[in-house]
């Protein structure tokens, strides 16, 4: 929790949602920005060391104790094939809830919360050979920046079910 203010989706301080606009938490990985649907975000916490797991893919950093629950932490940078993150306490883990399962996503930091009006996102162009393109559901332009909106379901759907290859 060190250094990063706790932020929850239910926080009243969040900007009020515009009608028919979906809100996204914009996270930074290197120079890129990605949007995570805010309704999926359970909480945002500072990075703490994980306990590594044997026999898992390299982007699975390990598990952490989230108030008594064992939650896996995934290195998004690594998942997108861009090398491993060397985390510091200034890094951030976004806890995302899918169904009843919680997943931690390690990112460099939180940059913004953006409202994306319906239909404002462009379909992603086909990036050939880019791992991350399969997880992107749209692109939005926000004050000269481009944010890639992530399809969290697709990103995480394989993690729980599949056995180690």
């Amino acid at each position: 929790m060190s250094g990063v203010p706790a932020l929850r989706a239910s926080d009243p301080a969040l900007p009020a949602a515009e009608a028919a606009a979906a809100q996204y938490v914009a996270v930074a990985i290197g120079g890129e920005e990605y949007g995570l649907p805010i309704l999926r975000v359970r909480e945002i916490r500072g990075w703490t060391p994980e306990t590594p797991l044997p026999g898992v893919p390299p982007h699975v950093r390990g598990v952490v104790n989230l108030r008594g629950l064992i939650v896996p932490v995934f290195d998004l940078r690594r998942r997108f094939g861009a090398g491993a993150t060397a985390p510091t306490p200034r890094h951030v883990v976004v806890v995302v809830q899918l169904g009843r399962r919680l997943h931690g996503l390690l990112v460099d930091g939180i940059s913004d919360i953006v409202a994306v009006p319906e239909g404002a996102a462009q379909p992603p162009p086909a990036f050939d050979g880019l791992i991350e393109s399969q997880f992107i559901e749209g692109l939005v332009q926000e004050r000269e920046r481009m944010i890639a909106l992530l399809d969290v379901e697709r990103l995480l759907s394989g993690e729980a079910a599949s056995e180690t290859p």
């Binding site: 797991l53 026999g55 598990v63 952490v64 180690t164």
Partner: protein
């Protein structure tokens, strides 16, 4: 007989629960807040008590519950308008029911008011059926002094005409009209006429259908209620008309009303319960009620209480958190200089002891005898034996062995499957057994016992044993075993747990259900358990299931490997030792055997197996922990350091992630960090091939061994 007692016990426990439901509902009924669902719940509760009571032959209880139920039925169908007086009457009836239950349980006599209250209820019913609803409650409280002339006239001998026209399915409900007619005869002089006009021609006659009706003219000194009592159990299944012939204005309806009044006019019929009735706001007869509740309480309090499982789960979780906190505090305390704060240290020790005692007590609440699962098996055995044409006797022992409720529940499926398998595949047909010089009747032995903090469940049959050549041939055919691989007998036996394995040449209806032994094993492993099979050709097969007693906490040894800590289940730890260089033996560049207690044991490097960095990697400098699987296989784990022993709370990895080979679960240590609990048998299997990650076949779903 013993069995019956247990069922009775369960029935009374359930009754206590049902009574609570009914009472809560009725209390809400009084202020007029009850909803239809509520009434249904009350009705069902009383109905269940009646049903169960009937099964055990508690006639008085059943008769009363029947009246009660009838009123409730009218009420919920809207034919009887709810009112304060009605609610009070029903509450009173509930108290009587509680006392009848207590009487049934402890063998005493029922409360004398039961008959009166029953009559009271009937009055409510008839009031609803005949007259304006509002008058129904008013009709109930009739003091003896106010008995009408008609009621007085009803006393003394009289002649009744009883028309008894059973519904066609009366016999199928287990009733016998003959008994009722005989009972009528005991009351006085009866002239019975049988009406057989509805009888169909013989070819169409169904033996279990009743087409007869009777008219009885009975001259008796008995009252209408005594006559009615005879038909108590069949009133729903027949048309019954009882008319007093010598009374003025004789008529069915009138007779009923008269009957109710008669009941109140009976000599002992002036207990305070009745007298108290007309005061609507007061709950009727508080004294009687308290008595009822006290006796019901005594009945329940002595042995068991039923508690919502959620509450216990919450308690278990809280204790789990407390164990973690206690470990954390203890860790801080241990860091103090030895002579600092002696009182704090003493307090911490005390805390550790109490925490453990508390945790054990809480776990004991959840403990349940395996009997609840075992008791389902005789029936299964009978069914499967009948389906397969085999003769089987089931011998069970250790049914009272206790284990956590969650473990008990998850035992049902594996056991069911294993027993089906044992009978279907294991046991020979009777003739074949006879030819082999075995008794015709095969024996399946199911037992449970505690051993070193686990429960062992054993299922043994005296059948033909596993046909190893055939198993091996099948496994080779399916590519589960490489050609030319030499397997030990034990390894061959354990092939049946592989996915996609089937020994039955023809898939039978019994065990060919798409769930195989691989699924059984996976379920068992999911519980942190193991299953092994041992077989002797011609003599039988024995499965041993080993499960943890609880899925919530365990005692663990915390070890350090490199920069990581792991927890070894203490029940598997034999000892830890620091090997001398001469104790280590190796083949290639690495020592893979260690001499421990006079035998060479395979050495497993946890850092390599689990991919840990920065480990010493040298058992000569580190330590070796000798562990033993449930099957008795020993192996030596090379670790850097033993950090101590502590009680750990078992946390699921699967809840948010998935199963990991060699890891049974995770836990949270005193510093809040997660540590993995190692699965010794899994490590044993993984380490078999020498390198990490081998020796384990994918545990994906597949067609199964039937």
């Amino acid at each position: 007989m013993d069995e019956l007692e247990r069922f009775k016990q369960t029935f009374f426990e359930e009754c206590a629960e049902l009574m609570a439901v009914a009472e809560a509902g009725l209390l809400r009924l009084a202020p007029g807040e009850a909803e239809a669902g509520e009434l249904d719940a009350i009705f069902r509760a009383v109905h269940s008590i009646k049903g169960g009571g009937g099964a055990f032959g508690f006639a008085e209880l059943v008769a009363f519950a029947h009246e009660f139920e009838a009123v409730l039925d009218r009420l919920r169908s809207g034919r009887l308008p709810p009112s304060r007086a009605l609610a009070d009457a029903l509450l009173h009836a509930l108290d009587i029911l509680a006392r009848l239950l207590a009487a049934a349980q402890h063998g005493g006599a029922g409360p004398p008011e039961a008959a009166i209250v029953a009559a009271d209820l009937r009055t409510l019913l008839e009031g609803a059926a005949a007259t304006a609803p509002a008058s129904a409650p008013a009709a109930a409280p009739v003091a003896p002094a106010a008995a009408t002339p008609a009621a007085q006239a009803a006393e003394g001998p009289g002649t009744y005409r009883i028309v008894f026209q059973p519904h066609i399915e009366l016999l199928q409900r287990g009733n016998e009209p003959l008994y009722m007619l005989r009972a009528l005869k005991t009351l006085g002089f009866a002239h019975v006429t049988c009406h057989a006009d509805a009888l169909p021609p013989l070819p169409e006659l169904e033996a279990e259908h009743l087409h007869l009706a009777w008219t009885v003219e009975l001259t008796t000194a008995a009252g209408l209620d005594e006559i009615r009592d005879i038909f108590e159990f069949v009133v729903d299944d027949c048309r019954l008309e009882i008319v007093r012939l010598d009374a003025p204005d004789a008529g069915s309806e009138f007779a009923e009303t008269e009957f109710a009044e008669t009941a109140f006019a009976e000599p002992p019929a002036a207990p305070p319960a009745v007298a108290a009735k007309p005061q609507p706001p007061a709950r009727p007869a508080p004294a009687a009620e308290d008595g009822a509740r006290a006796s019901a309480g005594a009945a329940a309090g002595g042995q068991t209480i039923r508690v919502d499982l959620d509450r216990i789960d919450r308690l278990v979780n809280l204790v789990g958190e407390m164990v973690i906190t206690q470990a954390m505090v203890a860790e801080q305390g241990a860091a103090l200089p030895p002579d600092a704060a002696p009182q704090l240290r003493a307090g911490l020790e005390e805390l550790a002891r109490h925490t453990r005692a508390l945790q054990e007590s809480v776990m004991a609440i959840r403990a349940q005898a395996v009997r609840s699962v075992f008791s389902r098996m005789p029936r299964l055995v009978r069914e499967v034996a009948a389906e397969t044409g085999k003769e089987v006797q089931l011998v069970m022992s250790g049914e009272s062995t206790e284990v956590d409720k969650t473990v008990v529940e998850t035992l049902v499926d594996p056991l069911t499957h294993m027993i089906r398998n044992s009978i279907d595949h294991g046991l020979e047909p009777p003739d074949e057994r006879e030819a082999l010089g075995k008794p015709r009747v095969g024996t399946v032995h199911l037992s449970a016992q505690h051993r070193s903090g686990r429960i062992l469940i054993e299922l043994a049959d005296d059948g033909r044993g596993i046909d190893r050549p055939r198993v091996l041939r099948k496994a080779r055919e399916r590519g589960l075993v490489p050609e030319g691989a030499a397997l030990s007998d034990e390894e061959v036996d354990n092939l049946i747990f592989l996915p996609g394995f089937s020994t039955a040449d023809t898939v039978s209806a019994i065990s060919g259900r798409g769930v195989g032994m691989d699924v059984v094993r996976r379920n068992v492993q999911g519980l942190g358990g193991r299953i092994v099979v041992a077989s002797t050709p011609g003599e039988g097969t024995r499965f041993v299931l080993s499960l943890p007693l609880t899925l919530a906490v365990m005692d663990g040894m915390v070890v350090r490997v490199g920069d990581q800590r792991f927890v070894l289940p203490i029940t598997h730890v034999v000892e830890s030792l620091r090997p001398r260089p001469g104790d280590l033996r190796g083949l290639v560049n690495q020592c893979d055997m260690v001499m421990a207690r006079g035998e060479y044991v395979r050495l497993v490097y946890l850092d390599q197996l689990l991919g840990v960095r920065d480990a010493a990697g040298d058992p000569g400098r580190g330590l070796v922990v000798l562990v033993e699987t449930d099957e008795g296989d020993r192996l030596a784990l090379a670790v850097d350091e033993v950090l101590g022993q502590s009680q750990v709370v078992i946390k699921s990895l699967e809840a948010n992630f998935r199963r990991i080979d060699g890891v049974s679960a995770a836990t949270i240590l005193g510093d809040g960090r997660v540590a993995l609990i190692l699965d010794i048998a899994g490590i044993h299997e993984m380490g078999r091939g020498g390198a990490r990650g081998t020796g384990r076949r994918p545990a994906g779903a597949a067609e199964a061994r039937p």
